[in-house]
């Protein structure tokens, strides 16, 4: 028995020992190893040695991958006892392109503490480059952004490595290494997607002629698909339509475009984010699945839905309008999908007149017609419709095509009338009906008015005039009605009560209001009398006014007034009236500017100044409201002296017309008056004033007075000189010539045919008659003037330097004026002359002739005769 056991034990040991070779090596190893490569993947297959059949425990295969005799990967493959004898396979993707370097694979088995011998296989050795250029690997490979990639440059024999780079990437994280002198690698973090096509990896080498030789490869760096938000729906219950959001550009272009599959079928146009498949849709909650994939990844989108809750209806077809009247039409349409007629449908009708639009909703089973009411008569409309399911509403259909129609005409709407008191007249005015109020072409308006006790008076106003002036008895109340007429008839009348002469407007003082954003925000106290609301009217405070108004419902006590006619810098008066059952009642008045504007310079037309001691009062005319584009809150007077230092005086009284600058110095000042408004100081008007001392003023006044007197005297002298003849005639009128009958006189008369007049104003006739000698000389005039100063020196003849031998003892000087006789027809002029005591004296014209007057030649008849006062020496009368 013991022997038997020993034998069995020996047998068993011998069986186990059969897995070992003679040298003690484990004999259960791999066999029939085959190595293949695909892309960058190494695939290894092998079988177990038949000796492994006896192994009862799991068998482990150890795999080692070596590149350039350097271990780059180690892995163990476990084979369960039941898998022994099967063909085993293993694959591995190398980080390095297989073209870069040969990969050596070593494989051995291990069982317990026993290991077989290494069996090895090697990839096709690379690194041999038969071309003349460097070769870069991998080529045209797809990489994901963010991954790390290794590129190698395999140089031809005889070339030296120069550079290896990847375009468009930062060289900061590049790792260079060389597998051999001919194979160089670059490991880089691919953090940028390829831009236009693929990214270039370029290797530069230097050949034996020291010339740089380039070559490269392309790498597609991009993203896996990241589409999302799949939503499926049905439109006709015969197909499923899915839409989703397409993800970012994968940057892989045609190299690896994203492909889509829906329910296992290809979506050719999935890149648009929509896919449709024909299939009958039933009531069921289902998963609708879409996959999107490229070389870098795959994404699966799932939408779980009952498509009967996801009905996206088709737009209504054949929309028609029928039964059109002035305010109602009927709309009919058809459904393309018959199944819609069984659904409860709600539809939106969009009705538009080009400017405004309204949407009305209608619900019904299989809804295919609606009535649209409340339309404007004589109006053009455009209508369209869209629908959706009422239950489990998903989304509205597209709008149907638009249908246009015109409603029928009608009588005009009642007019909006108002009144305005102007120049003792009552202007009834109304707003011209808008197109949506006239319901046809307005022909005219009919105004009727009556006192309470009198019969109605009517008048017609042709369109488009929209006001009518009435001269009414201000002591009576009137009811005035206006109606508008078009081809369809007359509007209902609009009536306004004109009250007895109202004085309330005088009692209501306007308060100020500030405009904003081109209008006025108006508010007022509610009035219990305003049973039918309020009326706000407005007009410019000054100038022509086309009144405008606005009706406000009783519930509102504030309103924004805006008018396209509002202008900045114009003051408006706004009146708030209560609308009562009788006449309107004025409640409040407000005035203000839509926007105040700066007043232009030169606001004060004429600045006047008045000195008062060392003060100066600057005054101006009141500023008219038309010239105020802003409320004037006061005035400021700026005073600049010659040093340009400034002082100012101001007033807050907008009615002020003067300001006084005090305690000024003798100097020149510039005064500027400005109006103070809420938009700033403006309307600058300046005046320059020079202040003098009192002494200066006195001297100036005296000087001016003296000069004035002197000038006046000169003027008088000149005037007297020029008009001396006249003055003389006035002062000394001509004296008739005395009639002398003496012989000497007769003789004299014979010699001179001209009468002689002697002017003696201050002598009596008796004295005149006593003049013994008076002669007029008719000879040629002498040139010299008589010297008036020597008239007291009797001179009969000879030179003045001769002594007077016999002075005249009884001589009397008598002024004599030679007469101005313009005797142009006569030869001689009347010339006062001296008595010629000797004939010789006639030729002594050059001698001293103190009594001689200047004589003019007779021929010069045009010259006026000068009139010179002459003194004549009278001889002593004989005592007899």
């Amino acid at each position: 028995m013991i022997t038997w056991l020993l034998l069995v034990s020996l047998f068993c040991n011998s069986e186990q020992d059969g897995n070992f070779k003679d040298n003690g090596v484990y004999r259960c190893g791999p066999q029939n190893m085959t190595l293949s490569t695909s892309d960058n993947i190494i695939l290894l297959t092998w079988q177990d040695d038949p000796l492994c059949m006896s192994v009862r425990e799991k068998l482990i295969y150890e795999l080692e991958v070596l590149i350039a005799d350097e271990l780059v990967h180690y892995e163990e493959v476990t084979v369960e006892p039941e898998q022994i004898r099967a063909t085993h396979s293993w694959n591995w993707s190398s980080h390095l392109a297989l073209e870069c370097a040969s990969h050596k694979l070593k494989l051995r088995s291990r069982s317990g503490n026993h290991t077989s011998q290494w069996e090895q296989e090697q990839t096709i050795p690379a690194g041999r480059n038969p071309s003349k250029r460097p070769e870069v690997y991998p080529r045209d490979k797809v990489f994901q952004v963010g991954s790390k990639a290794t590129f190698c440059c395999v140089l031809p024999m005889g070339q030296a490595f120069k550079n290896l780079y990847i375009s468009g990437h930062d060289s900061k994280n590049w790792e260079f290494s060389n597998i051999s002198t001919q194979v160089h690698t670059l490991t880089v973090d691919l953090n940028r997607a390829s831009k236009t096509s693929c990214t270039n990896i370029i290797c530069e080498a230097v050949n034996d002629k020291k010339k740089v030789v380039d070559n490269g490869a392309c790498a597609y760096i991009g993203y896996p698909p990241d589409d999302r938000d799949l939503t499926c729906e049905t439109r006709d219950f015969q197909s499923v339509d899915c839409i989703w959001k397409v993800g970012q550009d994968t940057h892989l272009g045609l190299k690896s475009p994203t492909t889509y599959e829906f329910l296992g079928r290809r979506c050719a146009e999935g890149y648009n984010g929509r896919c449709s498949h024909k299939m009958r849709v039933d009531y069921a909650m289902l998963n609708w699945t879409l996959t999107a994939q490229n070389q870098l990844g795959r994404v699966k989108l799932i939408d779980r839905a009952d498509l009967f809750h996801r009905v996206y209806m088709l737009a209504p077809q054949e929309v028609k309008v029928s039964a059109v009247n002035s305010s109602i039409v009927r709309l009919d349409w058809e459904w393309e999908v018959k199944l819609y007629e069984t659904l409860n449908i709600k539809c939106q009708v969009n009705i538009s007149d080009g400017e405004t639009h309204a949407v009305k909703e209608h619900i019904g089973d299989g809804l295919n017609s609606v009535a649209i009411n409340d339309l404007i008569p004589n109006w053009a409309y455009m209508v369209r419709i869209r629908c959706g399911t009422t239950q489990h509403f998903w989304k509205w259909s597209n709008w149907s095509s638009s249908v246009e129609f015109n409603t029928m005409g009608d009588v005009p709407d009642a007019l909006d009338i108002w009144m305005q008191e102007k120049d003792n007249q009552t202007i009834i005015t109304w707003k011209v009906p808008l197109a949506n109020q006239s319901h046809g072409d307005i022909i005219d308006y009919e105004i009727s008015w009556a006192q309470s006790s009198e019969r109605q008076v009517k008048a017609n106003v042709l369109h488009p005039k929209h006001s009518f002036a009435l001269s009414l008895d201000t002591m009576e109340e009137y009811a005035i009605s206006v109606i508008a007429r078009n081809q369809n008839g007359s509007s209902s009348p609009s009536t306004i009560i004109i009250p007895v002469l109202s004085t309330e407007s005088n009692g209501v003082k306007p308060t100020r209001i500030q405009g904003s954003n081109g209008g006025f925000n108006l508010s007022w106290s509610a009035s219990p009398l305003a049973s039918c609301g309020y009326i706000v009217d407005w007009c410019p405070t000054r100038g022509p006014c086309q009144i405008d108004w606005l009706r406000v419902p009783p519930s509102k006590t504030h309103v924004r007034i805006f008018s396209k006619n509002f202008r900045e810098g114009v003051r408006y008066l706004l009146s708030i009236h209560a609308c009562t059952q009788t006449a309107p009642l004025l409640l409040e008045k407000k005035e203000g500017y839509v926007k105040e504007k700066l007043i232009q310079d030169g606001l004060f037309k004429l600045l006047k100044w008045k000195p008062r001691d060392m003060d100066v009062e600057i005054s101006w005319d009141p500023v008219a409201i038309q010239e105020q584009p802003a409320f004037i809150h006061g005035y400021i007077l700026y005073c600049w002296d010659h040093n340009n230092s400034v002082t100012y005086i101001s007033t807050d009284d907008p009615q002020a017309t003067s300001l006084t600058a005090k305690n000024l110095q003798v100097s020149t000042y510039r005064f500027t008056v400005k109006a103070n408004t809420s938009v700033g100081e403006c309307g600058d008007t300046s005046i320059t004033v020079t202040l003098n001392s009192m002494t200066d003023n006195l001297i100036k006044a005296v000087g001016i007075t003296l000069i004035t007197i002197f000038v006046l005297l000169c003027l008088i002298v000149v005037l007297c000189y020029r008009n001396w003849e006249c003055i003389k005639l006035k002062v000394y009128p001509p004296i008739p010539m005395p009639v002398l009958k003496d012989k000497w006189m007769t003789t004299l008369t014979k010699q001179s045919s001209h009468p002689i007049f002697v002017e003696m104003s201050h002598h009596t006739e008796a004295e005149l008659t006593a003049i013994p000698e008076l002669h007029c000389k008719s000879e040629a005039p002498v040139k010299d003037y008589a010297d008036q100063e020597n008239i007291s020196s009797p001179s009969t003849h000879g030179s003045h330097d001769k002594p007077i031998e016999k002075p005249v003892t009884h001589s009397t000087t008598v002024p004599c004026q030679s007469l101005l006789l313009a005797l142009s027809s006569s030869r001689g002029h009347l010339n006062p002359s001296f008595i010629q005591t000797s004939p010789d004296s006639a030729g002594g014209s050059d001698g001293y002739k103190p009594q001689e007057q200047r004589l003019y030649p007779e021929e010069d008849t045009d010259n006026p005769l000068p009139c010179v006062l002459t003194y004549i020496s009278l001889p002593q009368l004989p005592s007899e």
């Binding site: 236009t196 693929c198 270039n200 370029i202 010339k211 490869a217």
Partner: protein, 197 residues
């Protein structure tokens, strides 16, 4: 010998106008092809010598000054026809490999192609204006068609095509600008010949 010299058959003004137009088109083509080349070089981050050492794609000898006007024009037209064929293939190849888009590069590429065709036609008119026998349109060497190229190799080939177009556009400008002088010389010779007769 003088009888073998070529002259202009059409109206002198017409020939002059066509020559001027050809010069203008060639100058435009040269400008645009230079821009295209530069744009492509920047877009692909190519350095200038990436294709250095490669043989020329168009194997037509450049028109030398020794040639007659007619021969010069013929050489030029042949080379430009080659360029046009290459450019069309390059565009098709790019679109096939990388997809067709419509950006600045694609627009410029199309413009150069059309300008090149316009220049070829204008030079054809000029050749007709020279009293020469009908020329046989050169057939393109199909062996130039790139095949089984990697994308990078295709890019290099496209770069070579653009370089070739630029080179021949520049050559065209030079040759065509020299034409009026030739014509003056021809006219003078012709008048001399007439006087001898």
């Amino acid at each position: 010998m003088a009888d073998r010299r070529i002259g202009l058959t059409g109206p002198p003004e017409q020939g002059r106008t066509t020559a001027a137009r050809a010069v203008a088109i060639a100058e435009l083509l040269h400008l645009e092809s230079s821009n295209l080349l530069e744009l492509y070089r920047k877009r692909e981050s190519f350095i200038a010598n990436v294709i250095s050492g490669d043989s020329r794609l168009v194997s037509v000898p450049p028109p030398s000054s020794q040639l007659e006007t007619r021969d010069k024009l013929w050489c030029l037209q042949t080379a430009l026809l080659h360029c046009r064929g290459l450019l069309e293939r390059a565009i098709a190849k790019e679109d096939e490999e990388l997809g067709s888009q419509m950006g600045e590069y694609e627009t410029l590429r199309k413009m150069v192609k059309e300008r090149l065709l316009s220049l070829v036609n204008t030079i054809g008119e000029l050749i007709k204006a020279v009293d020469s026998p009908a020329m046989v349109t050169p057939t393109l060497n199909d062996s130039l068609e790139p095949d089984n190229l990697t994308v990078f190799e295709m890019k290099l080939w496209v770069f070579r095509v653009f370089t070739e177009v630029d080179y021949w556009a520049k050559t065209a400008v030079t040759v065509l600008q020299a034409l009026p002088k030739e014509r003056v010389r021809i006219s003078r010779l012709r008048s001399t010949r007439s006087s001898r007769r």
